[in-house]
Structures are given as C-alpha cells and as structure tokens.
C-alpha cells in the first residue's frame, strides 16, 4: 500500500501544527466560532448532537495493521471506546473534545493518516472498490489512480471552495462494488478495442434529496490525461455550479440543468484548453505510485480445499468469503453487523484485533467497505478456519454478508444534528427480527437513512428506509427496488410511512411476498423487478 513520501508527511504534520494553533486561538477567544468553524470542518471536526465528531480519512478504504491499531487506540484514548465505520470508507469518532483534537491528529499523523478534507465544500476522500488488487474480475488495481487523484485533490487551491462537497470513486471491473455511479465523478478503468487502458467518466451521480445515477460523459480518457480531464470537469463545475441554493449546488444538478450534451460540450472545451497547460503529472509519478500497490508475495501451489466440517464455519465461509485472483487465496469480509448490534461500530479492542489479523493473515492489509464492514483482501484458504476462530472470539464472526441483517444505517438522530429520525434502533430491531431468516432470504440489501441526505444509501437499497419527522414524531418511509451494483437503480417509495414497529412488520410482509413469489435463483430485487410493486403493496397495506 502507499507510503507517505517527505512531502506527504510534511504537509500533514504542518496541518496538525496549524490546527493546534487555530484551536488554541479559538479557546483563548481570539478566533470566533464563525471564523473557526470552516477551519475545524476542513480538518474533519464537526459539532454533532452530543459532542464534537471527528471523521478520519481512509483513502480508498485501505489500511495497514498498524493504522488499524492506532485507530483502536484513538477510540480508547480520545473517545468512549469505539469508532464508527462510515458509508464512504472512513471512520468517525463521536465523543471528541476540542482541546484534545490536535493531539489526536498528531497521533494519526504518526501512522500517515489525517482528517483533512473529510468535510467542507471540497473534494472528499477518494473511494474505490474494496476488493481492489484481489478481485479476479478487475482489469487492473484501481488504487494507484485513486492515489494519484488523492494527491491532486489534496489542498488543490482551486477546489477548496467548491459550490458543494465533491465525491470521486474509482473502480476497475465490470461489477460495481463501490456505488460508483452514485458519486459526483465515478471513474471506471476500462480497456478499449485497441487493448489500451483508460478511464470512463460517469459524472453527476449522487443520492441525497435528488438521487441521480451518473450518466456516462466520456467513454475513454487516456490514463496520461486522467488528472487533466478531472481538472476540466471540476473547473466547469466550479465556474457554473450553483452557489445560491445549497440544495441545488451539487454537480448532478448542473449536469441535469445544462443537459448532458451541453455539459459535455463545456467539459470538452475546458479539456482542450487544459491540454495546453501541461498540468498532467509525469507518468513516472504514476509508476512510482503503482510500485506501492504491487501484488504481495502470493504463495503458489496452494490447495483450494477448505475443511467445511464445522457447520458454523461453513456458513461463514459461504457468506463472508469470496473469490480471489490468486489460486489458494480468498477475500474475507468481517461483518460489523452482529445481530442486534449497531451497524459499523467497533470497539477499540475489536479494531486492534482486526489490525492484528490483517498482519497475521492478509499481508498487513485491510479495507473499509462502503457497506460499513472490513475486508481482509488476501487470506490463504488454509488459514480461513484459524482466522474465523479469532474473529468469533472477538465477536466479529457474524455470517451475514449482503443478507438482510447486513444493514447499512447512518448514525441517525441518535448522533447526527441533521437527522430527522433514528436509524440505528430500527436497524437493531430488523436485525433481530430476521436473525433466523436471513440466510433463507439470500442477498437482500437493506439500507436506512435518518434524513433525506441519504448517508444510509436508502435510495440504493433493495429495501430502503427513510426516516422523516412528522410533526415531531419519527416516521419511516419504505422504498423498494434500489441497487448500487452493476444494475444500478434508484428505489421508489412504496406508500404511506410507518411507525418504527410498523415498518419492521411491513418489511417482514414484503419478505413473505418474496418467498412466496420467487423463482429459482431470484434475489428479492429480481422478484420485485419481475412482479412489480402491486403484490407487495397489497400485502403491506392490505
């Protein structure tokens, strides 16, 4: 994985020192909150319902064991013993003290981490396929390109005051495991008819109050023009994106209002101009970055056999492990969705355990998924049983990947100052209700957001739930038919909303319709798409 050079480390250390001074001045009173707020937000420090919240960047979700270990230590030292992995491959701490934040950031910097650009109207953390470098179906590891984009977008002086936040995602396979088309820029690394590798740009996707699937704007950008084309897109957005209304300020609105054709024309014009400016980093820099992402030293001649005589282990293998490009290896997803637990939360001890297991079993590498789980990307099949035993001992052995109990949920009204309704208690009730049926139901992605901002990705859920405030009372809308995968689609509202208990019952009725109507091999989503909403509505609303 990428290691900081002296420039990276100097920039991050300088930012810690700068923020330490800003924090001192705020506490002493020479800096007003109005002046300080944008500064703390640029360093990932929010003020939420109960305390300050710090969002730490995890570039393209990749972590070393040592970094996980420090994240666990931070949970214990500065928070209340736990952290929350987010839907953009980051981690958040919920109980941070302002006067301790500079020390926390200094601890992060020691392991090449920071919280820069995890908030504010700038280019946020670059996300990527969490199986990058391991997936058998990828053209190439997308992370060197994500890293190049990270370096380009970090402290980019032109793009630190965009009309609104800006999210970029990079994948390199036909199967989209990163909700790529629901980003401001989604990049798919592709191979053209001539066998050359380049980047397809999908621009103007997103969730929030106006969910849009990003259209393909440019089918092939040569990789030696990746930054130039990205810069052209950002320049058009920065120039013409709306600043009069924050709800209409994302690039998706610009693309929609201009129309795809006119937006593309403007980007092409800017791209032509930018090509005369020679801003593209030399390919040697990309090659330098690529060297950090070389395959680990996979052993050869390994057996593919796994002893599945232990039924609980067999269930976990079936659910939480996947194909790997190297024979004898598997990808492993550690579920942070124990039955009745809080999606995405992990204790300091658990975070350190995952760091230790990454070192012991996965070439010192782990990933955070946008589904709030942790990946160990390169595990020898012969080690799966020992790994599973260690996970079970740490309460991390839940076998429910992509099942109805593997719920994405935003922090909701329990923590978030923007939320209208609680998400987590609902996730807990649903998880408990379906604990015994989850495997029977197969792949069923359930996603819950506590407000229209959609941090819980409810638009992309096979079943989505949106919490709203109805005259001071929590109410939950039910949506069906979303998907973030290769078959990206947006979910639609089924009918009138429910109370917290009511929506748990409604989801159960929907699953009963699915079980009654499904045909061989159909997921819930497939059955819903085939039969339509009517039988579900009849069962739910009677």
């Amino acid at each position: 994985m990428y290691l900081y050079d002296q420039y990276d480390q100097t920039m991050v250390d300088a930012r810690v020192a700068e923020f330490r001074d800003q924090t001192r001045r705020r506490i002493e009173g020479t800096l007003s909150e109005a002046a300080f707020r944008p500064l703390r937000l640029q360093n990932g420090l929010y003020l939420q319902l109960h305390a300050y919240m710090l969002r730490v960047a995890i570039p393209y979700g990749t972590l070393s064991g040592a970094q996980l270990s420090v994240l666990g230590d931070i949970a214990d030292k500065y928070d209340r013993g736990y952290g929350h992995f987010t839907t953009r491959q980051n981690i958040q701490y919920n109980w941070i003290k302002l006067d301790e934040t500079p020390d926390l950031l200094a601890d992060l910097a020691k392991v090449e981490m920071h919280a820069i650009q995890t908030s504010g109207n700038c280019i946020r953390n670059i996300s990527a396929d969490h199986f990058a470098g391991a997936a058998p179906d990828e053209i190439i590891d997308p992370r060197p390109y994500a890293e190049l984009l990270r370096q380009w977008s970090s402290f980019h002086p032109e793009f630190l005051a965009l009309p609104r936040k800006f999210k970029i995602c990079v994948i390199a396979s036909e199967t989209d495991r990163a909700a790529m088309r629901l980003h401001d820029i989604g990049i798919r690394i592709v191979r053209n008819d001539a066998g050359e590798i380049g980047a397809a740009f999908y621009i103007g996707g997103g969730m929030g109050r106006t969910p849009i699937i990003a259209p393909l704007i440019k089918a092939f950008v040569p990789l030696d023009q990746l930054i130039t084309y990205s810069e052209a897109v950002l320049r058009v957005y920065n120039r013409y994106g709306r600043r009069d209304n924050k709800y209409k300020a994302r690039i998706k609105i610009l693309v929609h209002e201009l129309g795809q054709e006119e937006f593309t024309r403007q980007v092409e014009a800017e791209y032509a101009h930018m090509q005369t400016q020679a801003i593209e980093p030399p390919l040697a820099e990309l090659e330098r970055i690529k060297a950090y992402f070389a395959d680990p030293a996979f052993e050869t001649g390994l057996s593919e056999a796994i002893d599945l005589s232990n039924p609980d282990f067999a269930r976990w293998v079936r659910s939480n492990t996947g194909a790997h490009k190297a024979p004898g290896y598997a990808t492993v997803v550690i579920s942070l969705k124990p039955i009745g637990g809080i999606p995405g939360d992990a204790t300091g001890d658990q975070i350190r355990v995952m760091g230790d297991l990454a070192k012991a079993y996965s070439f010192d590498e782990a990933r955070v998924t946008h589904t709030q789980n942790i990946v160990l990307p390169h595990v020898k099949k012969a080690n799966l049983f020992a790994l599973w035993q260690a996970l079970v001992a740490a309460d991390l052995g839940t076998a429910n990947l992509d099942q109805i109990t593997d719920i994405i949920a935003c922090p909701g009204l329990d923590y978030c100052s923007l939320a209208n309704a609680r998400s987590i208690p609902l996730a807990q009730k649903l998880s408990e209700r379906f604990a015994d049926k989850a495997e029977l139901l197969g792949e069923l992605k359930l996603k819950i957001s506590g407000c229209i901002n959609a941090c819980g990705h409810h638009h992309a859920g096979h079943i989505g739930i949106l919490g709203v405030d109805r005259k001071g009372v929590e109410n939950y809308q039910l949506l069906f038919g979303g998907s973030e995968g290769a078959d990206t689609s947006l979910a639609s509202i089924v009918g009138p909303g429910f109370t917290e208990d009511g929506i748990v019952d409604a989801v159960e009725k929907a699953t009963e319709v699915y079980l009654a109507q499904r045909e061989d091999g159909e997921r819930f989503l497939d059955t819903y798409r085939r039969v339509g909403v009517t039988p579900f509505k009849e069962a739910i609303y009677g």
């Binding site: 705020r26 506490i27 009173g29 909150e33 003020l47 319902l49 109960h50 305390a51 300050y52 209340r80 919920n94 109980w95 941070i96 003290k97 302002l98 006067d99 809080i342 009204l413 329990d414 923590y415 939320a419 609680r422 987590i424 208690p425 807990q428 001071g472 009372v473 929590e474």
Partner: protein, 95 residues
Amino acid sequence: MKIVTGNDLKTGAVIWWTGESWSIHVNDAVDVADAAPVIAAEEAARRVNGAYVIDAAATPEGIRPAHIKERIRALGPTVRLDLSLDPTATPDRVL
C-alpha cells in the same frame, strides 16, 4: 417554558443554562424570558458554542424538551444508554 442549550466549547458536551452557569443536566435548566443577552454574553465568554433557545415543559419527572431531538440531546444516544447521564433510562424516555 423556554430554556437555553448549547455545547461546551472545549468538550462539546451538551449543556443547559441554569440562570447562573451551565449544567449537563437538563433538569437544572431555568425558564428564560429573554435569551438573547444570555447567549451573547456566554458565547463571548467562550463558555458555550452554538447556544439556542428551545421549548420545554416542566413535568413531574423533570424538564422535558418539546422536540425529540432535544430529548435525545438531554439523555444521550438511545442506542448507547450505558454512555448516557442516566444508564437506568430506557429508550422510551425520548418518545
């Protein structure tokens, strides 16, 4: 009644105006007829961050903020009541 709340500048903790200072317990909050001078003075003194006024009611069980968001602020996350000011509470208290 109208009560004033905000977050402690240094710690971020939820705090309530008692008439003389700030408390982390909502039951210490007092009815404030004119909140603007209190907010201005306390923010200037850097004892509170983002203070604002909310509606609440005095009940036999104590002061109850009118909106669920403020009731959750007063208690703590309903999913981690072990971390709240009253670990014996149940989530129903905020409903």
